[in-house]
Symmetry: C2
Subunit: 227 residues, 2 copies
Amino acid sequence: MNQSPPLVPTERTSLKRLPQRGAYDDKTIYSILDEAFICHVGLIFHNEPVVIPMTYGRVENVLYIHGSAASRLLRELANGIPVCVTVTLLDGLVLARSAFHHSMNYRSVVVFGTACAVKDETIKLKALQAISDHVMQGRWSEVRKPNECELRQTLVLELPLVEASAKVRSGPPIDEEKDYCLPVWAGELPISLVSGEPVADPRLLLGIKVPGYIEAVRAQSAAARVP
Amino acid sequence: MNQSPPLVPTERTSLKRLPQRGAYDDKTIYSILDEAFICHVGLIFHNEPVVIPMTYGRVENVLYIHGSAASRLLRELANGIPVCVTVTLLDGLVLARSAFHHSMNYRSVVVFGTACAVKDETIKLKALQAISDHVMQGRWSEVRKPNECELRQTLVLELPLVEASAKVRSGPPIDEEKDYCLPVWAGELPISLVSGEPVADPRLLLGIKVPGYIEAVRAQSAAARVP
């Protein structure tokens, strides 16, 4: 489907340490972005760093984040300032025979760029649908869409996925050769994000069943990497 | 146990929007920090924001993060520069009847401060044990401890938990009154981080069983908030 070439690593996206963990192809980057629910957005506010968790969506090579138009931080972002957006999926605890070689298995993406407010209303609606689809495919078509007043209250920011890199660690611990004879259990404890049983709103109308797309998310999470 | 007063909100930790979601007591803040595995550390590097995922530990009101002494970013941090450390636990997807009122249930902590390198070797070792205990209580006493060379290669940074705040959302969606009659399923899909079956290292010595403290983490995650 996607024929675009790998992103070109820049000074700040190229991994200096453990370069074998780095990946710059959009397939790897997009798959991590599409799987996680939350990103951490870093920006400079009054000369100091601020990191806020946010939901997001992706349309091809554009990342959309959104929030209240009343948010000080988002208004700051809307002016077009440099951001760093990081997404991390924790896959496991890596338990080595030495304290030093303990690690985590994870997949992360770091995106650098300038986030700008989306002004065009058609693109804004598409971005909001992308964010909704990202969290739960199928939901958008069922719910009441944003009205004009709600759209005005919502700030949507776009960040091009141009300067981005992924970092992945998987597999068993790597111990010092002399430590392999230690009588210590070593290996990986897999970790994943799973969903539980849907909890109906106390004011849910009688007779409304849990939709198939929610069951699909549940089934998908049950079949996740946890062996 | 802990008798200290709530932290005093500062200009940047006090919530302007939805202030009812804010918490400044150390019990709430510490419980979120102690439950999560990963923090996102934001700093300014060459005048631009950078956000990196890291593991951490806590000893009373000090947060410790660590990494390779060869890391450019950590060396930058070691000089004592302002950071923002954010920890986010995702608890559920909040599915409203309108697109606009969709949300997430979560617990997050934001810490502002200046991170400094720990020079004292005794404190450094205690900090490394705290990070190990944080990830898996019981592991430290079983594994080979860091030797002098490994300690030199490890940079440990301390960040006082002074300017910090928590933010918590829980419960069902809050819809517009007129939307409660819409025939749309609404409620919460709980989400949590769980662990799978331990995967033994391919080079594990014969006859070494999975230790009880790993089983304890598994049991704890199985009994987690997922109903």
